[in-house]
Amino acid sequence: MEIKQESECTYSFWEGRLLLDQEVQRFRALHFPRQSEDEWIEMIRQWRGKNWLAVFPAIVSRDGRWKCLRCGADQEFIFFTPCGRCERDRCASCKHCLLLGRARSCQYLYRFVREGHDRVQIARTVKPSSIQLTARQSVTAQKLSTYVKQKMPTVLFWAVTGAGKTETMIPVIEPLIRQGMSVLWCTPRQDVVKELAPRLKRFFPDEIVTEHYAGSPDKWMLSPLVIATAHQTIRMAHLFDLVIVDEADAFPLEGNPALEYSIQRSKRTGGTIILLTATPTDLWIHRMRKGILPTVLLPCRFHGKPMPCPIWKREPVLWDQIKSHKMNRTVQRIINEITSTDGQALWFVPRIEDARIVAEWLKRESSFDEGQVDFVSSTDENRTEKMLRFRDRNILHLVTTTILERGITIPQCHAVVLRADHPVYDRASLVQIAGRVGRSLQYQAGKVWFLSNHKTEPICQAIREIQLLNREACKEFGG
């Protein structure tokens, strides 16, 4: 009896994980260093007997098509090499989840899932949350809570940029945590996890929140509220009652069936996925219009002011002027306006190598002090340092590529998109860029300019979408 209880207690550590051979060994060495090999084998035997544990090869071939059972990647991601483990000439490995340790066809995958077993739900006390929601936000949160109670499989939560998505989600998460359920907050990128965790830790006790990303200290610990990058969900299965997918339309989530599969898998049967986005994809909008995808719309920002509508200007010779070191009159006017309203500006360029050229051009052609104009790109080593200087208003004009289109908040910000007709700018990224502006109530002078030779479809769509959302927001406020 005692052994049985002990094995059950140990099982709670393992539950909901999907681990490779080598990961199981590492995890054991970390958490159960005193457990002997015999005990472990006995435990595995028991669990497999009870159907709590399934062990199968990581990569299998079904009807001649190979599939990685770990991340769900298809034939196109599988490659074959001679293997030093199984000493066969053609051992299949998966390219897609290579960065999380290599899965091979000669390696076993351990799946710790109890089907149809209700987990012991320990009611937890949560600090009475001290957040102030606007009326609109709390109505939205209530709607979302109802959907979660109804066990809707997927819900789209469309909130404009700067609407206070994180704050709105907290009243949705809180009752679940109180009932002892578990919640996953999953984002596409690591820096978002690092930024979000301290914010959520303000509302929930520290031991409840864990962060999972490559190289995070508590990667192996599971807790009621897990914040993870999308790739880390590959290691989890049937674990969460609510999965919140933040920035669900951003790279690498969008159009990646394997990651979608693993996010779907990490939720329990009867759980809900909330797709959180400011710019839903065309497919979601289509489904929403057809009524297949339940949607909650939050069209106004937390301060109730509308989003600034982008101003499009035709500038056919702008790029030539940059090349021949001449000032452009529109750009001069924009700079004057920004300076007169005491603002800062983000200048978006389509390619990394353009950033340096434009920054030098701005520096030379306008009378800025040394260091007031700078550029960043994804390959820049002092990116965080430059961002800090931009936040502290040491840099007034920052030239950047699309990396800064999401997730930054500068209170006195303007945005200018040069060459807005370039194919890297789609509707979503233009709307996101416009969403950088006017996020604080105190500074509403921020403007958005799109400068390009042609008025492309994404530009029109972005402007139309912002106007639509502003109209919706007006309706809510009664004009």
Partner: protein, 245 residues
């Protein structure tokens, strides 16, 4: 629209060998030009003039560097390397060796092969061997990294690859996590010679490894090869370029 164009002349863009991002494709470029803009910026080739023994960039001429002056003359091994072991090279080697991305061994091998062609191919009766991994490590990683490089180089240059050495002791701590003194001590008795007693008087053999830090691994292997009457030279993918390690 222009589908016939790419059918006849091939695609105009290709993928970077190291990070799989798109790069311009120019036919006939050497392998180190076939990288994307980001990788080209970050990879650092070793500058000339270099130390005539270990290939370390020297500021003045091709005389011996300080490291080589310290080692006894009988121990010195001529080494050539492709790139400096900087942050980029470290990430590449990490992804290749520890994460098991075997696709990277092809560009690394081709790069080394073209370097060997420039520097060593005038040697007659020449063969390739490698610094082996322990059996257990091969099981863990699934492949022997230096062996893979050696086979790619051998296939490229039409030179036979032979297994001459074997690693005897399994080290819990990999070489890359030690200091200089620890490295020099830990290697004694690690390798042993396993080739047949063949007529090898004075035959050149090329020793392939991935990273050259202090050169102690290479020197230890070379010692064994010299005992068996070979003349070893070494080729590594990356080497450190700091004053002292």
């Amino acid at each position: 629209m222009r589908s016939w164009w790419s059918k006849i002349f091939g695609d105009s863009s290709a993928l970077c060998w190291f990070c799989q991002s798109p790069r311009p494709k120019v036919i006939g470029n050497p392998i180190w030009e076939q990288l994307c803009a980001g990788c080209t910026e970050k990879r650092k080739m070793l500058a000339y003039p270099q130390c005539r023994v270990c290939g370390k960039p020297n500021s003045i001429d091709d005389s011996f560097c300080y490291d080589c002056q310290r080692t006894p003359e009988s121990d010195r091994v001529v080494n050539i390397s492709c790139v400096e072991y900087n942050h980029w090279a470290r990430l590449v080697v990490q992804q290749w060796k520890y994460r098991g991305d075997e696709r990277l061994s092809r560009p690394m091998g081709l790069w080394m092969a073209s370097l060997i062609k420039q520097r060593f191919l005038h040697m007659d009766r020449f063969m390739i061997t490698y610094v082996p991994c322990h059996r257990k490590r091969v099981y863990e990683r699934g492949f022997d990294q230096a062996k893979q490089l050696a086979h790619i180089i051998g296939a490229q240059l039409h030179v036979p690859v032979v297994d001459l050495l074997v690693r005897q002791s399994y080290q819990d701590q990999p070489q890359s996590k030690r200091s200089r003194d620890q490295r020099l001590q830990a290697l004694v008795g690690t390798f042993s010679y396993q080739g047949k007693q063949m007529d090898s008087s004075g035959q050149s053999v090329l020793l392939v490894d991935d990273v050259y830090t202090t050169g102690s691994t290479v020197r230890e292997c070379a010692k064994l090869l010299r005992k068996a009457n070979f003349q070893p030279v070494a080729c590594t993918f990356a080497r450190t370029n700091s004053e002292y390690v």
